[in-house]
C-alpha cells in the first residue's frame, strides 16, 4: 500500500478533485450532497497535496510517466518544491473557499453548477502546476479556462455576461498565442517534454522561430498573468463574478500564468540572453505602477482589489526580471504569501458586503463598532498586502526589493517602494470608509457575519501571521525551491531517471 501511494503520489491532487467534480455533477439535483462531497473532496485534496510536498521535501523531485512510456515520448508529471508548494497553497485556498461557500453560495448558484465547476477549476490549476509537458500545460490552461467561464457567468446577470465576453475573448486569444509558441518550439526542437526541451534547447542554434516562440510564450502568459499592457480583461471581469469566485480567481488564476512564466523562462529559455530580461523588467515596472494607479480611483472594494492583483503581479515578475537566486527565492516567497493574502481580502470584501449590503465604499461604513472582529481580520491581510512589518508581505517585499538593490536594477526597487506606499493609500481607504466612518445610511442595520465566513478569513489570517512572525522556514524553503527551479540538470536527471527516484522498485 505505501508503495502504491508512493508510485501514484503525483496523481492524487488531480484525481481527487476530478472525482469530486464527477460526484457533484452526478448529484446535480441534491445541493446538500454536493456541499458535503465538495468539502470532503477539498480536505482529501489538501491531504494529498501535503503528502506530495512531504515526499518532495524528503526525496527531491518526484516524477511520473503516464502509460509507462519512456521519458521524452509519453506525458510526464513532475513535482519539484515550487510546484508542490503551489499545489499545497492552492489546496489550502480551495478549502478556505469551500468553507466560505457554505455561507455564501446561494441555492440558485448551486443549481447553476457551482460545485462541479469549482472542482473542475482545481483540476486545471493542479494539473498546470504538476505537468512536465508543455503541450499538456496548454490542455490544463484550457480546462481552467472553460471552468472559469462557467464560474463567472454563474448568476447570468448582464454585467456577468458582459464581463465573461471580455474575459473569454482575451483569454482565448492568449491560449491561441500559447499554442502557436508550442507549434514553433516543436518545429525547432522536435520534442514537447519540458525536461527534454531543457536538454535540447541549450544545444540548439538560435533562430528566428525560437525567438518568436519565446516572445509568444511571454505574451501568452503575460495576458494570463495580467502584465501591464495586457491586463485589461482582469479589471473588466473579476468584479462581476460572485465574491467567492472572485476570491478563488484572484488567488489562483493569475498565479498560474506567473508560474508558467517562471517555468518556461527558467527551464526552457534563459531570461539573461535574447533581451528578454529588459522586457520583463519593463513589464514588471508597468504592472506595479499602473495596477496601483488604477486602484486609486476606484470606490468599489472588488475593483480596488482587482487592480491590486495586477500591481502585486508586478512584484513577482520583478523576481524574474532580476533573475539572481535571491530574487527568484523572493518571487517564490511572494507568490505563496500573495495567494493567501489576496484571496483573504476578497473574502473580507464578501463579509463586508454581507454586513453592510454593499461593495461601494461610499455607501458602507460603521463596521468598526458593529463588527470589531471583522475589522481586526481585515487589518491583517490589508497591512500584509501593503508590506507593513512584521506581516508576511513585509518579508516578501523585503526579499524582492533587497535583491533588486543588490542586483543591477536599483531603479525598479525604488519604484517598488513607491508602489508600496500607494498600496497603503488604497488599504487605508477601505479601512477609513468601510470601518471607521459612521454609516451614511442611518436606517440600515448592520447584519451579523456568519461563522462560516469568519473561519476561513481567520484561518488565512493566521497563516499570514505565522509567516510574518516566523519567516525563516519559508525563506529557507523558497531558497531551496528557487535553486531547484533554476537548476536544469537536476530537473532533467529527475525526469530521465524516474524509476530510481520514484521508488517503483522493480
Amino acid at each position: 500500500m505505501p508503495e502504491f501511494m508512493n508510485d501514484t503520489m503525483l496523481l492524487w491532487p488531480l484525481a481527487v478533485p476530478l472525482a469530486t467534480a464527477a460526484l457533484c455533477a452526478a448529484a446535480w439535483a441534491y445541493p446538500r450532497a454536493q456541499k458535503v462531497a465538495s468539502l470532503a473532496g477539498l480536505v482529501l485534496t489538501l491531504a494529498a497535496s501535503l503528502l506530495l510536498l512531504e515526499a518532495v521535501m524528503s526525496q527531491g523531485i518526484v516524477t511520473k510517466q503516464f502509460g509507462g512510456w519512456a521519458p521524452p515520448f509519453g506525458i510526464s508529471f513532475v513535482a519539484d518544491r515550487f510546484g508542490a508548494a503551489m499545489v499545497v497553497i492552492a489546496s489550502v485556498l480551495a478549502l478556505a473557499a469551500g468553507i466560505f461557500a457554505i455561507a455564501d453560495v446561494r441555492r440558485r448558484q448551486v443549481k447553476a453548477g457551482f460545485y462541479p465547476l469549482f472542482q473542475g477549476l482545481m483540476v486545471g490549476v493542479n494539473g498546470a502546476f504538476l505537468t512536465g509537458d508543455i503541450f499538456n500545460l496548454y490542455v490544463w490552461f484550457e480546462v481552467m479556462l472553460i471552468a472559469t467561464l462557467g464560474l463567472i457567468t454563474l448568476d447570468r446577470t448582464r454585467a456577468q455576461l458582459d464581463g465573461a465576453i471580455k474575459y473569454a475573448v482575451l483569454n482565448l486569444f492568449s491560449t491561441i498565442l500559447f499554442l502557436m509558441a508550442i507549434g514553433l518550439l516543436y518545429g525547432v526542437t522536435g520534442t514537447l517534454n519540458m525536461a527534454d526541451l531543457a536538454r535540447v534547447l541549450p544545444q540548439t542554434e538560435g533562430s528566428v522561430a525560437l525567438t518568436v516562440s519565446a516572445m509568444l510564450f511571454l505574451l501568452a502568459f503575460g495576458i494570463k498573468a495580467g502584465f501591464f499592457p495586457l491586463f485589461f480583461w482582469l479589471p473588466a471581469s473579476y468584479h462581476t463574478a460572485t465574491i467567492i469566485v472572485s476570491a478563488v480567481f484572484a488567488g489562483l488564476l493569475t498565479k498560474v500564468g506567473v508560474y508558467a512564466c517562471f517555468r518556461v523562462f527558467t527551464l526552457l529559455f534563459e531570461v539573461n540572453d535574447g533581451g528578454i530580461r529588459p522586457i520583463v523588467a519593463f513589464f514588471a515596472a508597468g504592472t506595479m505602477l499602473f495596477g496601483v494607479f488604477g486602484a486609486a480611483i476606484q470606490w468599489d472594494i472588488r475593483r480596488i482589489l482587482s487592480f491590486h492583483i495586477i500591481s502585486q503581479i508586478g512584484y513577482i515578475m520583478l523576481g524574474l526580471a532580476i533573475a539572481t537566486p535571491l530574487a527568484m527565492a523572493g518571487a517564490v516567497f511572494y507568490i505563496i504569501h500573495h495567494i493567501v493574502v489576496k484571496a483573504n481580502l476578497f473574502f473580507v470584501a464578501g463579509a463586508i458586503h454581507r454586513a453592510t449590503g454593499t461593495y461601494d465604499l461610499r455607501k458602507a461604513g460603521g463596521l468598526m463598532k458593529a463588527s470589531p472582529l471583522l475589522a481586526v481580520l481585515f487589518l491583517v491581510p490589508a497591512l500584509s498586502l501593503a508590506g507593513i512589518p512584521p506581516l508576511s508581505g513585509f518579508w516578501a517585499k523585503f526579499m524582492v526589493i533587497d535583491a533588486s538593490f543588490r542586483g543591477d536594477m536599483a531603479w525598479i526597487g525604488a519604484l517598488a517602494l513607491f508602489v508600496g506606499l500607494l498600496t497603503v493609500f488604497s488599504m487605508s481607504k477601505i479601512w477609513i470608509e468601510a470601518f471607521w466612518k459612521t454609516s451614511p445610511r442611518k436606517a440600515v442595520r448592520v447584519r451579523a457575519v456568519p461563522v462560516a465566513m469568519l473561519v476561513p478569513i481567520a484561518a488565512l489570517g493566521a497563516i499570514t501571521l505565522a509567516i510574518g512572525f516566523n519567516p525563516e522556514p519559508l525563506v529557507a524553503f523558497a531558497n531551496v525551491a528557487a535553486d531547484t527551479m533554476t537548476d536544469r540538470a537536476q530537473f532533467i536527471a529527475a525526469v530521465f531517471a524516474e524509476r530510481q527516484i520514484a521508488g517503483a522498485t522493480p
Binding site: 484550457e142 458582459d162 491561441i176 499554442l179 468584479h239
Partner: protein
C-alpha cells in the same frame, strides 16, 4: 511548398485579427475561429510537412518504416481542434445569451460590467 503555406497562414491570421478588432460580437467569434484554425495549420507546417507514407507499422515489422509521416503534430492538432471547438461553442452560446439579455451584439453597447461599481456613479453619496 512551405512558403505557400506560410502565406496562407499569414493571410488567415490577418483576417482573424482584423475580425477580432471589430465591435460586432459575431465577427469577433469568427475571428477567433480563424485564428485557432490558422494556428492548427501552423503546427502542421512547423511539424514538418512532407509527402510521405502514413505512419502505420506493416505486419511483420517491429518499427515504422523510414520516410513515414510524423504522427505527433496530427495528434496535437486533433487535441487543439477538440478544445477549440468546445471553447468556440461556449463563446457562441455566451454571445447568444448576451444578445438575448442586452439586446445587442455590438460591444459598444455592452457597458454593464463597467457600470457595476463604477467610480463615476453619481447616485452614490459622497463622503457623508
Amino acid at each position: 511548398m512551405n512558403l505557400v503555406y506560410a502565406f496562407a497562414i499569414a493571410a488567415q491570421m490577418g483576417c482573424g485579427v482584423y475580425l477580432l478588432l471589430s465591435r460586432h460580437g459575431m465577427r469577433i467569434l469568427i475571428g477567433i475561429v480563424l485564428l485557432s484554425t490558422a494556428t492548427n495549420l501552423l503546427i502542421f507546417v512547423a511539424g514538418g510537412l512532407r509527402f510521405t507514407a502514413p505512419p502505420v507499422i506493416e505486419p511483420g515489422l517491429e518499427v515504422l518504416a523510414a520516410e513515414t509521416a510524423n504522427a505527433l503534430p496530427q495528434a496535437l492538432i486533433l487535441t487543439a481542434i477538440v478544445i477549440g471547438f468546445a471553447l468556440v461553442s461556449f463563446a457562441a452560446a455566451l454571445m447568444l445569451k448576451t444578445y438575448r439579455s442586452v439586446g445587442s451584439v455590438l460591444t459598444s453597447d455592452h457597458a454593464d460590467a463597467e457600470a457595476l461599481g463604477s467610480p463615476f456613479d453619481r447616485e452614490a453619496p459622497r463622503n457623508a
